[in-house]
């Protein structure tokens, strides 16, 4: 009938066999192996997380910038609490009795059995005093943590800060537990994984006197913490410090890049803050204060502020014209106080006329570049302004403008290079032309470029046509190489043969005869190439801009300086850039008068005074 009936025996045998194996296993685990048992019945096991030291951060010359200092967290396990002298206890750790009761209740609410944080970051003095008497306070123990310390008050934005994780993060990334720290911004964020290391767990036997008796099972179940990797940044601490000093009492930014590598030498954002303000118990309070500050010291202008590049952008207009073969070295345009079209005029200042390309850069002639721009967009090879504009935009974005550069800086912004869509929407398709967009030729209008992008553009010109994605990382101690993407040469769509013509013009800007736009930036024995810019600012005084690289051959530094409400480029930005270059290449400053001129410039308080006078 049922020929497979005997198969039930096999199934029953399997069930019994496995059960016997399990019982034997349990017997071995629970009865034979006595090492699992805890000798005295009152003893408990305590799981203590081993927090690894966070990696150190160095500058490019291996000068220490960020290190750690031990801090002590007082932990509590409510179940293990026994009556104790509360007055004495409160005195040692300097809290009120109400606070004590409140904290104990809070811990009980969380869990009777799991440790919770009782008091954050005690000083080592408090810790020493408490340690002696800890045996009296059953249920309390101390966990060692580390806090960030800074050797100097510089580079707050680039270094970033570390903060406690919130519940959201612990849910998304189970590695983090409440009370853990993680990088929130800057390098601390970008290299969180490398810097944080790996937590470990140690299980200790604790006796009835709340004393640690040793490792449970000789550490068989412990995991060791792995220290975080050290990081060498590309920043030059001396130059960074000098840059921040020059930028005191001014709003703006300085970014300097080593063209041959894309390494960011300096990233100054002003106003800034002392990085030590955002560490430990004082962090939240200070953070809120900085947030409220009307000068927005938390706003990282170097990578987040968009400015029109002003006349520095004429370099790009010239290069696109050359590449498109609508402009040659000897092309002459005359200028009669500006570029006239219809009843309108793009004004220009007084200079010799007509000019060829290098001289047009030297004198920063607006009319010249209006002509070049129009010949690019209205090139008869294109069927419409639309097509010409697209070609123009392609060239511009190949310099890393209008998009995120992809640096190792988490919150960089993309800036803005308008698209044909934008103008179609604004004016209607076919209802705009090279004239409508003419202000782009001289870097005004809808253009928005971050200081980092402008520095990178300068670096690209210094390299005669390519750039490395700018980055802050030079070396990670745990890895052989930095990210591959920082080692790739990224070429623009401009042939490298066109760059020398433009660079000659940039040389003349500084080293040319009287009337050149930025003779103030000249440094003895070094050929600096640069270009001034002035960004129109509808909200107040124009922004002063300067880009430069030096030396002309084998450039070592490319720099972009933005000084908000600083007026003409040559007024504040050019001398600042010049001083920075001198500092970097010559180590000391020969032009003390120029240094004092910048240091004494106060554009923040001056303005507020002006406002008061109104």
């Amino acid at each position: 009938m049922d020929i497979f009936k005997q198969r039930k025996y096999f199934i029953q045998i399997i069930i019994i066999l496995i059960s016997i194996i399990y019982i034997i296993r349990l017997f071995a685990l629970q009865v034979v192996d006595t090492s699992y048992k805890i000798s005295a019945s009152n003893n408990v096991l305590r799981h203590i997380t081993q927090y690894p030291a966070r990696g150190l951060v160095y500058d490019r010359n291996e000068e220490l910038l960020v290190y750690n200092q031990a801090a002590y967290d007082l932990m509590i396990v409510p179940r293990q609490l026994e009556a104790f002298d509360t007055t004495d206890f409160c005195n040692i750790i300097n809290i009120s009795k109400q606070q004590l009761i409140k904290e104990i209740n809070k811990a009980k609410k969380y869990s009777y059995f799991k440790p919770s944080l009782f008091l954050k970051q005690m000083s080592s003095v408090t810790y020493a005093k408490l340690q002696e008497k800890l045996y009296k306070y059953k249920g309390f123990f101390v966990q060692t943590r580390t806090l960030r310390k800074y050797t100097q008050k510089i580079a707050a934005h680039a270094l970033g800060y570390v903060g406690e994780v919130d519940e959201e993060i612990t849910k998304k990334k189970p590695y983090y537990k409440l009370g853990d720290y993680m990088g929130i911004s800057g390098i601390e964020k970008s290299y969180e994984k490398e810097l944080r290391g790996k937590k470990g767990v140690q299980i200790y036997l604790v006796d009835v006197h709340n004393r640690i008796k040793g490792n449970y099972k000789k550490g068989k179940y412990d995991t060791n913490a792995v220290a975080g990797a050290n990081i060498t940044t590309t920043l030059d601490a001396n130059l960074q410090e000098y840059g921040e000093k020059l930028m005191q009492n001014k709003k703006g930014s300085i970014v300097a890049i080593e063209p041959s590598t894309g390494e960011i030498l300096t990233m100054v954002t002003s106003p800034s803050y002392n990085p030590a303000l955002l560490v430990g118990r004082i962090r939240t309070k200070n953070y809120l204060n900085l947030l409220k500050d009307t000068l927005k010291p938390l706003f990282n202008r170097a990578v987040m502020a968009k400015y029109p590049p002003g006349s520095t952008f004429k370099i790009i207009t010239a290069l696109v014209g050359l590449q498109e073969k609508v402009l040659y070295k000897n092309t002459l345009y005359s200028c009669h106080g500006g570029y006239h079209y219809g009843r309108q005029i793009v004004g220009c200042h007084n200079h010799p006329s007509p000019l060829d390309l290098t001289h047009a850069i030297q004198y920063s002639c607006n009319a010249y570049f209006c002509n070049v721009y129009r010949s690019i967009i209205d090139n008869p090879e294109f069927t419409s302004a639309d097509e010409g504009f697209k070609v123009w935009r392609d060239y511009v974005t190949s310099f890393g403008l209008g998009n995120k550069l992809g640096t190792d800086f988490a919150n960089e912004l993309s800036g803005n290079i308008p698209t044909t869509k934008y103008y179609d929407k604004y004016y209607g398709h076919g209802h705009w032309s090279s004239l409508t967009t003419l202000s782009l030729s001289i870097g005004q209008g809808e253009l928005g470029i971050t200081p980092l992008q402008l520095a990178n553009m300068t670096s690209t010109v210094a390299n005669r046509g390519f750039y490395y994605t700018p980055h802050l990382i030079k070396k990670i101690s745990s890895k052989k190489n930095i990210d591959e993407k920082f080692l790739v040469q990224r070429y623009t769509k401009i042939d490298s043969s066109y760059f020398p013509i433009v660079i000659d013009g940039m040389e003349k800007v500084i080293n040319g005869e009287a009337g050149s736009t930025a003779r103030i930036a000249k440094i003895k024995d070094i050929i600096v190439c640069g270009k001034t810019g002035t960004a129109q600012n509808p909200h107040g005084d124009n922004h002063s801009i300067f880009i430069a690289f030096a030396p002309k051959d084998n450039p070592k530094i490319a720099i972009a300086v933005f000084i908000e409400n600083g007026g003409y480029g040559a007024r504040w930005a050019a001398p600042t850039a010049s001083l920075m270059i001198e500092k970097y290449l010559k180590k000391n400053i020969s032009r003390k008068w120029l240094e004092n001129y910048i240091l004494n410039c106060d554009l923040i308080n001056e303005q507020t005074q002006d406002k008061h006078m109104e």
Binding site: I3, F4, K5, R7, K8, F10, I11, Q12, I15, I16, I18, S19, I21, Y22, I23, R25, L26, F27, L29, Q30, V31, D33, S35, Y36, K37, I38, S41, V44, L45, H47, P78, R79, K108, K109, S111, Y112, F113, K114, P115, P174, Y175, K198, K199, G200, V201, I203, Y216, Y221, T223
Partner: protein
């Protein structure tokens, strides 16, 4: 009508019911102890898990009553309907479900969460019983086997997509049912072979796999052929062919990998050997070769499937399951803590509510997947062996009841119940004592959770109901 009802109550197998109640009580006490906190005293406090579990247990008794009131023929008549409805639920939870611990397998209605995959076990058992009891030519026709595979694998795939790997694996327990009903041992061997090849090809270098498969094929050939001469010829042919290919590769520097060289060598030698075998009418060689080549093909496609078709999180799950990847505070940590807790219980345990390890700061699943730790710590070896004996008794009792059924439907369903409980029992307890991999599935009747408790209750009591009416059912 009246007569039949009394009939049912008289025929209920009270031993099974008693075992069920014992397990439930033991389970609830463990949950109470696992989440016990000095601050909360009332056992009815439904903000606490033990309070909620008490609620689920009460609801289970209502479910049992409902199961008893439904006519036994209902399950057989509506088997396909129940199954299809469940499949639709499994599909809709993929889109409408709520994600908990990374698995999208929960419906949320207000404060209340239901996990349809738990109930899918019941539906699949019913439909398996229905399908397998309705034809005579069992496991012979390809069509029948194919249908069975579809019935079992559809929920597996859907639950795997929900990211609930553990619940998906439970369905492999049905192999026991198929075995009992006459599935050829060969199929089970093939199943095991596929499973082993799948795991091995993720763990071991493919060159080693190739060699191992070759060697196994030669050993099988040797057992079948038994002539030393033929085996030596085979070995010489394979090695010389491989050597020739290797030499050519070297001389002409084709830069073929060592794996490819061996594969070409093997192919060449099999062509030669096949001709030899054909002449000597040794047809079984072609079966061996068939298995050999499909194994090689399979191991190679596993890598492709794994890397290109599976999502990264599914890859991680399989990797952790196989122990390829270890997260320091993840599964390995849980198992260590679990062993410490159970081990520290000793022979007689620390006493009810006296455990410290299970309440300390480890495994988050102490009242669900790792409930066995609490038993081990507080009741010691005595408690753990009692729990194991209770489960063995329940399983033996179910098998005994299944075998006494006159209806094939009831018997098959009974085996389904036993297989599912057995699988959960083996994996759940096995993982807490470090024998089986950490697959997150609950311990039946013990683990905290309404869905799991209800599903197991319904699963078991449908069978008790079927058994109570065994004298009315034939076929």
């Amino acid at each position: 009508m009246n007569k039949r009802k009394t009939n049912i109550w008289n025929n209920i197998d009270w031993i099974t019911v008693l075992l069920y109640i014992t397990l439930i009580i033991f389970g609830w006490l463990s949950i109470y102890s696992a989440v016990y906190n000095d601050g909360h005293q009332s056992i009815f406090d439904i903000t606490q898990r033990y309070g909620k579990q008490l609620l689920w247990i009460s609801a289970s008794f209502i479910l049992i009553l409902i199961v008893f009131l439904i006519d036994v023929k209902f399950y057989s008549l509506f088997a396909y309907f129940i199954y299809i409805a469940t499949i639709l639920l499994l599909i809709s939870v993929l889109f409408l479900g709520k994600e908990v611990h990374g698995a999208r397998s929960w419906f949320e209605i207000g404060n209340f969460r239901v996990q349809p995959s738990e109930f899918a076990k019941v539906a699949t058992s019913i439909v398996l019983a229905k399908y397998m009891s309705s034809y005579n030519q069992k496991f012979k026709k390809f069509k029948n086997l194919f249908t069975l595979a579809i019935i079992i694998l559809t929920p597996v795939v859907l639950i795997f997509l929900q990211n609930d790997t553990g619940s998906a694996l439970v369905y492999f327990a049905f192999i026991l049912v198929l075995y009992r009903e006459g599935l050829s041992i060969n199929y089970i061997f093939i199943g095991i072979l596929i499973a082993v090849l799948f795991i091995v090809s993720l763990l071991v270098d493919k060159l080693i796999i190739l060699f191992s498969i070759e060697i196994i094929a030669i050993i099988i050939f040797a057992f079948r052929n038994k002539k030393i001469k033929n085996i030596i010829i085979t070995l010489i042919t394979i090695s010389s062919a491989t050597f020739v290919v290797w030499g050519i590769n070297k001389i002409f520097s084709f830069n073929l990998s060592f794996y490819i060289v061996n594969l070409i060598g093997l192919t060449l030698s099999t062509i030669i050997l096949s001709i030899f075998a054909y002449w000597n009418k040794m047809n079984y060689i072609f079966i061996i070769l068939g298995i050999l080549y499909s194994s090689i093909l399979f191991t190679n496609s596993v890598g492709y499937f794994f890397n290109n078709i599976l999502e990264p999180h599914q890859q991680t799950r399989i990797n952790i399951l196989l122990g390829i990847k270890k997260d320091p505070l993840g599964t390995g940590y849980n198992v260590n803590q679990s062993k410490i807790a159970i081990g520290s219980g000793g022979f007689s345990g620390k006493g009810f509510l006296q455990g410290t390890q299970t309440k300390f700061n480890f495994v988050p699943e102490q009242s669900t997947d790792f409930i066995f730790c609490t038993i081990g710590e507080e009741s010691g070896f005595i408690g753990t062996s009692i729990v194991i004996l209770l489960f063995v008794s329940l399983l033996m009792r179910i098998i005994y009841l299944a075998e006494r059924q006159r209806s094939k439907f009831s018997r098959i369903y009974g085996y389904c119940v036993a297989s599912i409980i057995f699988f959960h029992f083996v994996i759940n307890i096995g993982m807490t004592i470090g024998i089986t991999p950490v697959i997150g599935i609950p311990l039946p009747f013990f683990s905290y959770g309404g869905s799991s408790l209800w599903a197991f209750t319904i699963l078991l009591f449908i069978f008790i109901r079927l058994d109570a009416s065994r004298l009315d059912l034939f076929a």
